[in-house]
Symmetry: C2
Subunit: 341 residues, 2 copies
């Protein structure tokens, strides 16, 4: 069961011409006899010859392969993102080598080393939530493999990255709640080490102060994104006297756990307390308690953008110390109160 692919060498042999003639004929080289061209192409078709991309790329010292490293493909955000990456890759004749970190920095590193050994032409990565040191990634970039971060990006400026402005979305979100009359706005944020969390927190604080409201840290909780962590956070919020009338969750998964728990505690979701969130999952409308509003982050578009960016980074048509920082837009998607429940 070992592969048996015809080569130009075999074609040359059978036609009694040189290998280069076959190669040129196949490439429609101008100064090859028209009848030689025909004979070569005919036999190539007959033998079902297909150029060996591996050999070509080996010679060219490239692979036409982009490594894509995601925390977890199970999350809809990332499955959408990789679809965008794939679509753009296809357009530029690149293929995708796939790997997951499962939010484990050690696995993440292993995956990336493997991709490096495979000599991928570039790497697109959304960092694991537990990753803090990315020095080895900078080394890989120095070694000549460009890296583009997306969504979960490092804070530093000396990297290529694609992300959306969560800070601004958060301000919009708070303003939306404010305009609907909510004043006691709580937040269940993600782990503090994430840029994503910091941006939410900063936007939250900024929006409140813009509205001359004091930031009450009793209303601020965090979760490690597990069901237990979220439940604990929600529990604390519900135990407050003079508790919140609105809750902003880190994302729709946190939202689902938070509302599930709150419901069990007798809260009338979106009536007693308004819930808003980020991600805008497609199953939202089938869930028991959709958020009133969710921030759409266009993962598909972010994926496409990441691919475009790495293509540019690979071309290297930029200053040696220039880094792409591509910001992609977000939208507040209002689900309203008139859902199926």
């Amino acid at each position: 069961m070992s592969a048996n692919h015809p080569t130009i060498k075999e074609i040359a042999l059978r036609l009694n011409v040189s290998i280069s003639t076959v190669s040129r004929a196949l490439h429609d080289h101008p100064r090859i006899g028209i009848k030689t061209k025909e004979r070569v192409k005919e036999l190539a078709r007959e033998m079902k010859y297909e150029p060996n991309a591996q050999a070509i790329f080996f010679k060219q010292q490239k692979t036409a392969v982009i490594g894509v490293v995601l925390p977890s493909i199970k999350e809809e955000f990332f499955s959408q993102a990789i679809s965008g990456i794939e679509a753009a890759a296809t357009q530029y004749d690149y293929t995708i080598l796939f790997g997951q970190s499962h939010d484990d920095p050690a696995i993440e590193k292993r995956v990336i080393e493997s991709m490096k050994r495979q000599r991928v032409d570039g790497i697109i990565i959304s960092l694991s939530k537990n990753t803090n040191k990315i020095s080895y990634l900078k080394e890989i970039e120095t070694a000549g493999i460009p890296i583009v971060f997306f969504d979960r990006v490092p804070d530093q400026p000396d990297v290529h990255k694609v992300y959306c402005d969560i800070y601004k979305s958060t301000i919009d979100m708070v303003n939306w709640l404010y305009s609907r009359g909510y004043r006691k706005i709580a937040m269940i944020n993600g782990p503090a080490n994430l840029t994503a969390s910091r941006e939410r927190l900063e936007g939250y604080k900024q929006a409140l102060s813009q509205k001359k409201m004091k930031v009450d840290m009793r209303y601020f909780e965090t979760t490690d994104l597990t069901k237990e962590g979220t439940t604990t956070a929600m529990k604390k919020l519900l135990s407050l006297k003079n508790g919140p009338t609105a809750v902003i969750s880190f994302n729709d998964y946190v939202h689902m756990d938070a509302t599930q728990y709150a419901h069990m505690q007798g809260i009338n979701i979106n009536k007693d307390i308004a819930f808003v969130s980020y991600s805008n999952l497609s199953i939202t409308d089938y869930t028991a308690f959709p958020p009133l509003l969710s921030v759409e982050q266009y993962p598909y578009g972010q994926g496409e953008q990441a691919m475009e960016t790495i293509i540019r980074a690979m071309k290297g048509e930029h200053e040696k110390d220039f880094f792409y920082h591509e910001e992609v837009p977000t939208t507040l998607v209002i689900h309203g109160t008139n859902h199926i429940r």
Copy 2:
């Protein structure tokens, strides 16, 4: 920004030894002088030398890459499956080239041709729901690239495949409904051309006849798996006089659309009509109307199994006309009526 990886040649040059000496030293060849070995390894470390996998595989005429073609990574079933594939692949030092068909046979073919050009060592595929002719796949296999189908597999016996026994699960499902007293059992099945649909239908018929119940085709509807198709099917079932008391949906996505519509029509889900389904999505417990029961098909395990199978197929330690047919188990997961609603 072009890659600049050190090679054994450079090491050899700098050490004034031959290329082969470097190669052997790096491989701990027994009869290389211990101090030469040290010098080589030292410099290799210093230069951050890493063997070029592309070159090695090129020489070995392999790639250590497995192509994985899925209909849509957005479906949780497939995102779980690819995780299983990846886990097993890592164990065997294979990497994953990723592609989606989006249920379009033309795209599917394009993806596979591209993988063939890349000389993947094998292909794992779950067929697009609209694919009917797989002759070109057989050709690829003849050319030396083994193919393993999983979940959405062809009916023919002359292919390697991994799948679960939906026929039997369906019988179990009907029996479960029967034991709970349901007698008017409807089914919203998938497209007739799918093996998955045929197995459901056959299991359904078989179970009913085993219980001496007549098969009433008024209770049998199909959907093209779109929201509209499912809504239409559900509508027909609800319009029947002496309508069903239980509905089996093709999968949890169909279930969600069916129950959403039924709810809007005033049906009390799982009270007026019992709903059961296949897939056992992880978000089930967050949905407005979870099925009473869902068939767990262990996509992660199926993925692992598919990888194991293709490894065996690649080794070719089997008769030329022997094909693996690996059946993986299923489980009925009971969600009960005591969910959050």
